[in-house]
């Protein structure tokens, strides 16, 4: 027989082990990347053009390209996602339309990213004649992350207490004034969280930009939204599996840079969130 005390210890050990199993791979991956990549990363690696067919030199155009793509994704995904979320949370009555919109969003979230890539290629690159460009890539990535942005924003908008809305409406504010001045500022933290999760994912995706934006090798910076560009995840894919003789340091360095970029974005988001929380003076 096991005593209650032993059961207690067993249960604790099990849950502790489970969390360890989750934490461990994350630590191993990050530690491994840091150990291998740290030697590859230098100031010149981050700021120089690739040389000698990407066997030497830096990855600056890929970093810049990814930043452009991320910025473009934000430009399209944030207004679209937030407005859609407001519509769902505040305006859409419990109607069939709303159920259809929700179902579409859930389904969109389950579409594999390579399908987004082909969709973006068909719609933006070919049909709308944007060509393989930052514009086409950003739009494709924006659609990829819309479900996340909408879901998080809707949740955030809904969780703003009813008493704030009524307080505003009772003063004679219109619904839009209430949404704009009371609901959105209070939902901003949750919205930013959703956007960052989405954008972090967009920054790391290869398949959606492969056909819509990313250049194999382009040793110059993009000159307009209609230029194509290099991008970190695609560059990593190229040096890791398309080239036989790219030095390993190139691969580790690129991987670590991508990881640091995404981490930096999460950090910035955390800071913004903290600011909003302070501004709300909870």
């Amino acid at each position: 027989m096991i005593s209650r005390n032993q059961t207690e210890k067993l249960a604790f050990a099990t849950v502790a082990l489970a969390s360890l199993v989750v934490v461990l791979p994350a630590l191993v991956i990050i530690g491994f990347l840091a150990a291998k990549g740290a030697f590859a990363i230098s100031w010149s690696f981050l700021t120089q053009m690739p040389k000698n067919g990407m066997r030497e030199g830096g990855i600056m155009p890929a970093i810049v390209g990814t930043l452009y793509l991320v910025a473009g994704t934000l430009v399209f995904a944030v207004p679209l996602g937030v407005f859609a979320a407001i519509y769902l949370a505040e305006y859409a009555p419990q109607s069939t339309l709303r159920r259809i919109v929700r179902l579409s969003i859930v389904n969109l979230a389950g579409v594999p990213s390579v399908v987004y890539g082909l969709f973006g290629y068909g719609l933006f690159v070919v049909t709308l004649h944007f060509g393989k460009s930052i514009l086409a890539g950003s739009l494709t990535l924006a659609f990829l992350i819309l479900p996340v942005v909408i879901a998080a924003s809707e949740e955030a908008v809904r969780s703003v207490p009813k008493s704030f809305r009524e307080g505003s409406l009772a003063l004679g504010a219109t619904r839009w004034q209430t949404i704009w001045r009371v609901v959105l500022p209070n939902a901003a933290g949750g919205i930013i969280t959703g956007v960052v999760i989405g954008v972090g994912r967009a920054a790391g995706e290869t398949a959606p930009i492969m056909f819509t934006a990313a250049a194999f090798f382009l040793p110059k910076l993009p000159s307009s939204p209609l230029s194509d560009c290099m991008a970190l995840p695609y560059h990593l894919y190229v040096v890791a599996s398309e080239m036989f003789d790219a030095p390993l340091s190139m691969q580790w360095g690129t991987a670590l840079t991508l990881l640091m970029l995404v981490t930096a974005m999460n950090l910035v988001a955390a800071l913004i969130r903290a600011r909003f929380r302070r501004a709300k003076c909870w």
């Binding site: 009555p93 207490p161 704030f164 307080g167 505003s168 009772a170 004679g172 504010a173 219109t174 709300k280």
Partner: protein, 276 residues
């Protein structure tokens, strides 16, 4: 047995009848005629008719769930926002039915302020809370806003406590101060009527006392309707009292009469605490 409670009715006079442009007799600031309210199929108010006198305090009493809050929210049409809520009957404000199709509910709510049971200041500074209403109604000038904020805070008897730092977060105030801030916020848009839904039920006795004093001073300028569960409070601060039961207005009259000589047996049971 009736409890005898101190009642101040000296200032409570019967309101003078007035005549509006449409030549209808307007006896109160708000005339509610045959008002019924439905939430879906559930009827929350049953043919309520009541005359709310100008510049006086009307207290609404009755057990929980009898429709007091619902009644208040009919006057400023806050129920419009509840899906499935439907009203019949008329609510005349200065002789004009607020449910007429040409009435703008947003402008109506500017004239009819509301204070809620739980103090609900916005998570902004004290200043921004009070300035919120004037801002949404188009006041942009900084010094004008500052004027309004100071005047409203003074009127709500909060100025002296917060004047050193009106930019500090509203949520750092005590519950009673927050409620007075909400009153100041409502006053800042210059309403004519103030609806108060159990404004003291979340407050300690001292804060409650301050709000009661405030209400007594506000009735010089405003028509006040207050919901309260506290019989002593109702008899202390109100000129008129209405007793609701299960969506019906059972009895309405001067507070002195309701609390000392109720006509209806159910009112008597309720005010003497023998109810239920």
């Amino acid at each position: 047995m009736l409890v005898s409670v101190p009642v101040s009715i000296s200032e409570a006079q019967s309101p003078q009848p007035r005549w509006n442009a449409a030549s209808e007799c307007v006896c109160g600031k708000v005339e509610v005629e045959d008002l019924s309210l439905f939430y879906g199929t559930f009827q929350a108010l049953r043919n309520v008719s009541i005359s709310i006198p100008e510049c006086a305090v009307l207290a609404l009493i009755g057990p929980s769930g009898c429709g007091k809050s619902s009644f208040l929210r009919c006057i400023n049409r806050l129920n419009d926002l509840i899906p499935g809520a439907r009203t019949t009957g008329r609510v005349l404000l200065d002789g004009k039915n607020v449910y007429d199709p040409d009435v703008d509910a947003f402008l109506l709510r500017k004239r009819v302020g509301m204070v809620f049971q739980q103090p609900n200041p916005f998570p902004k500074s004290i200043f921004e809370n009070v300035a919120y209403g004037p801002r949404i109604h188009g006041v942009k000038n900084k010094s004008e806003l500052a004027d309004i904020v100071e005047r409203s805070l003074r009127r709500a008897a909060l100025w002296d406590e917060v004047k050193d730092d009106v930019y500090k977060p509203a949520l750092a105030l005590s519950g009673g101060q927050q409620q007075r801030l909400c009153i100041a916020r409502a006053l800042a848009v210059e309403p004519e009527i103030l609806l108060m839904d159990e404004p003291c039920s979340a407050l300690d006795p001292i804060s409650t006392g301050r709000i009661e004093e405030l209400i007594c001073s506000l009735k010089e300028d405003y028509t006040i309707v207050i919901v309260t569960h506290n019989m002593q409070q109702a008899s202390r601060i109100s000129d008129y009292t209405g007793f609701f039961l299960m969506g019906e207005l059972i009895e309405f009259g001067e507070s002195a009469q309701i609390f000392t000589r109720p006509k209806d047996k159910r009112t008597e049971d309720y005010v003497t605490g023998r109810f239920g």
